[in-house]
Amino acid sequence: MLRNYLKVALRNILKHKMFSLINVFGLSVSIATCLLIILLIYGQKKVDSFHKERNRIVRVLSMDETRSFASTPLPLAPILLEEYPHIIEDAVRIKSSFVGGDVVYGNNRIPLAGRYTDDSFFRIFSFKLIKGDVATVLEAPFSIVLTKESAEKIFGKEDPIGKSVRLNDIGLNTMDIDLIPTENTETLLGDFVVTGVVDNTLPSHIQFEFLISMSTIPSLVKEGKSQATFDGWKNYFDSYLYVLLREGRTDKDLAPILANISKERYAAMEDMKISFGSEQLAQITPGAFHQNPISLRMPIEAIYFLSFLGLVVLFSACFNYVNLSFARSLTRSKEVGVRKTMGAARYQVFTQFIIESVIIALLSLVVAIGLLQVLSVVFLGLWINQFLILDLTPDLMLFVLFIGFSVLVGCLAGLLPASFLSSFTPIKALRNFSGISLGNGKRFTLRKGLVLVQFCASLFFIITTLLIFSQLNYLLEKEYGFDQGNMVNIKLQGIEYEALANELRQNPAIQTISASSFVPGTGGYSGSTEIKTLQMPDADLTSSYIGIDQNFIPNLKLSLIAGNNFSASIPKKDETMVVVNEALAQLLGYKEPKSIVGETILMGKDQSAVQVIGLTGNFIFDLLTEAEQNEPLLLRYLPNEFAFMNVRYHGTSDISSMLTFMEEKWKKLDKAHSFKYELYEDELKATNSIFTDMMYILGFISFLAVTIASLGLLGMSAFTVESKKKEIGIRKVHGAGVRHIALLLSNSYLWLFALAILITIPITYFINTLWLEEISYRVNFSIWIIAAGIGIMFVLGSSSVLSQTVKAAMNNPIKGLREE
């Protein structure tokens, strides 16, 4: 039986080539898109699935009124363990603030980033310890556990166990992003004994290159090398807490305990309203975003968003299948009639058609797997993915998922057509083909409805893509208020600024050099401080600030509206002077901003008085996508906070030889760290990458949506023309012209298109305004963008329809009439 169905299905697929091609194309591209998303989710689900106790591990979260934090205060763990042993079996804290730097062994100096953690770490998590004893490996102070990779970097083939390494903390970031500046100071933490080697190649949201025993911290505090407090509840920013619940306990048992603790600890503090929550290990990836994440992960919203896009395309392709199947049901009705007279029951005919659609879906799957190879490479090349750990290696389980998914898609697409076709009564199907109503009634409405949805989705995506495209262009062309051309920014990484500057000045290609605490416009962290004036001691204002040297303002060609720049002889300590921007002057109440020059303002918590010596024009110093108009800024002389060197070179110089020169000089001064630089212009362009990514993704989706919809239209009009051959013939014989007939056949699509515009434009406008208004520097959502979107859709849609209808209208009428 099955074989017979398969045979008929395959022969039908081969016979109706247009039908099959349209469907296989639509389904394969949309299935490929969905496979990529399945691959993504599957990869995310695999994260942390290797822990044996994963079902009992819970992470505790801190929450204030509006946000949730992944981190918790350090003293929470001992309280839980001591007071609630019947619920909490074990707990581990991972403290991660800036414990990164150089691990030194003999002449090897390797920059690595790691974390402090309790000795329970390996009891709770199942990271594989290759060397060392699980029970004691992180017990003693000054113990260090290296990952296999770090051990090889430091020791090569030597056995690291028992060897001593020296740790120099320069605040390397564990998350491997360079947005947060490394501190400029080095702290020698001491000598550490290697007690274990761990294999951390299995995907986990906990990333580290080494682990240090938590018991080290008290000695560091004693020596003044750490400010960590084990009984302070105010700092909930730099330690993460994971607890192992007792067998049979759930996070429901944990919730009241956490509520009690937070009430006890924070009730007395007026300015802190912290409560604790929890989430299962499996909920972390993929999971909701929390502030202060331990590592960067794809937020679950992004997965929802991508899944939504995938489903839109998938449904569009399924709609084509449904519509085209209805349209060609005339040609299949005879078969149904014969089969039923020969004894087929309805369910048997139904099964046959479902099998047919499943086969189409499986055929599409084969094509889709091919497409996936290309698609996943392109997807991984997106800017955003360099921050995410994505494991897209397929395994057997995944293929089972893929096949299951395709079968599901086939059933979904085939459901309506199969139930319709199997409902034919044999007598109607055989005696009189035209007895089957296709042109009116419920089914007609359904078909039009599906086409309408396709139109709407396509229009929405085209317009949104065009909008993002114009926003991206706007951002790329936006003037920041400084001159980023011909500049290189070098990350100092703790190097002596003056020494490097002196070396670099020897190169004639280099024009001027300055230093700053962050690079304006690149999303670097700006400090913020409170400001008051003597005249208005009650008014207070929080302003961002940037630490700069004397050369910064002329070097970046900032406009100095009034007053002076810092003089060359300014003392390195005891800040007494400051330069401000126009926005700050205005916000402090100076109607004429220039008049702020020479005034004294109070800065910071201790209200130290500083004199305003200069006024600059406003320039954009935040990320362009996050910047507000007229943000206040203090430009302060802070040599201790210099983290970047800004080098302006002559426009005519050879950049690559200059960079080689710089790298040589760098290596002379710093043997441990690699030379890190960015061309300023490129770096600023790259900050818009999130929009570039969005444009690629949405552009791809709109391309698919439009192509699928157009192909669907093509197929539909082909079938309409086929079934109206006789009508066309009669009309032509009676003198109807080509234009008249083509219009007659295309008419209903025009109305649908008009309806789609009416529905889609308000929705598109509303949804896009939502995100657009979050951005201060944005384009107008102009009528031209909408018009262009409509235009593109109209041209593609009408050329699909007209290609078929005009051909039919030009045919010899007798051909249409001759056939009985």
Partner: protein, 221 residues
């Protein structure tokens, strides 16, 4: 008695008026009969055939098939009844274009739950009996009309029905082909198969043992 129709009425409502398709039909068919139904276009021949074949319902009257009261049976039982005992032959053959001759013959057996080996034996038997072994792998469009109808008759016969219903089986054939098919019917009838055919042609009707004349849904004479 194979089947019995008593006071069968069938109508459609058209423009507020009741239009009778069948009017007070009484008919007894014994096993082994060969009946020809004749009458002008629109006289209800095909409708009568469809009612007998249980493909169509009627509005009033009683119908017994092998002593089962068809008019009281549920749809599913009725389907089982015709599946088992009735074979259909159509004017335009109605072979499935996507299936070969062999597969077309096999198709009804699939729905009657015969095992694979049985099916193969029965198909081979039919191909033999109708002398079309050489054509078993051809598709219907590769055959002449007469050959297609031959396959159509073979398909109707394959599950050994008691009754063959044929709706103008020679309507699309030339006279030589017609004679061949009618000869075949005659022979099948002599082997014990009951046949009811709808025909326009006196010549074809002459092959049968009895003629029923219909006019405006009524039996005359």
């Amino acid at each position: 008695m194979l089947l019995q129709l008593r006071n069968i009425f069938k109508w459609v409502n058209s423009g507020g008026q009741r239009l009778f398709l069948l009017k007070d039909i009484n008919l007894n068919v014994e096993e082994g009969e060969f009946i020809s139904v004749m009458g002008p276009s629109g006289s209800g021949k095909s409708t009568l055939l469809n009612v007998i074949g249980m493909l169509d319902n009627f509005d009033e009257g009683e119908y017994e098939f092998l002593h089962e009261p068809v008019h009281t049976l549920k749809e599913k039982h009725r389907a089982n009844l015709y599946k088992e005992y009735i074979g259909f032959v159509f004017q335009s053959y109605h072979l499935l274009d996507e299936l070969t001759v062999k597969e077309n013959l096999e198709m009804p057996l699939l729905y009657k739950k015969f095992k694979g080996t049985e099916r193969r034996a029965m198909v081979a038997d039919m191909l033999d009996r109708f002398n079309i072994v050489g054509k078993k792998d051809l598709f219907p469009t590769q055959l002449s009309g007469g050959q297609q109808q031959l396959v159509g008759v073979a398909r109707a016969l394959i599950a050994n029905p008691k009754l063959i219903l044929a709706d103008e089986p020679t309507g699309n054939l030339n006279s030589a082909q017609s004679e061949e098919i009618m000869g075949l019917f005659k022979q099948l009838n002599s082997e014990g198969v009951t046949i009811i055919q709808v025909t326009h042609s006196e010549k074809n009707a002459a092959y049968g043992s009895r003629v029923i004349n219909l006019l405006d849904g009524r039996m005359i004479k």
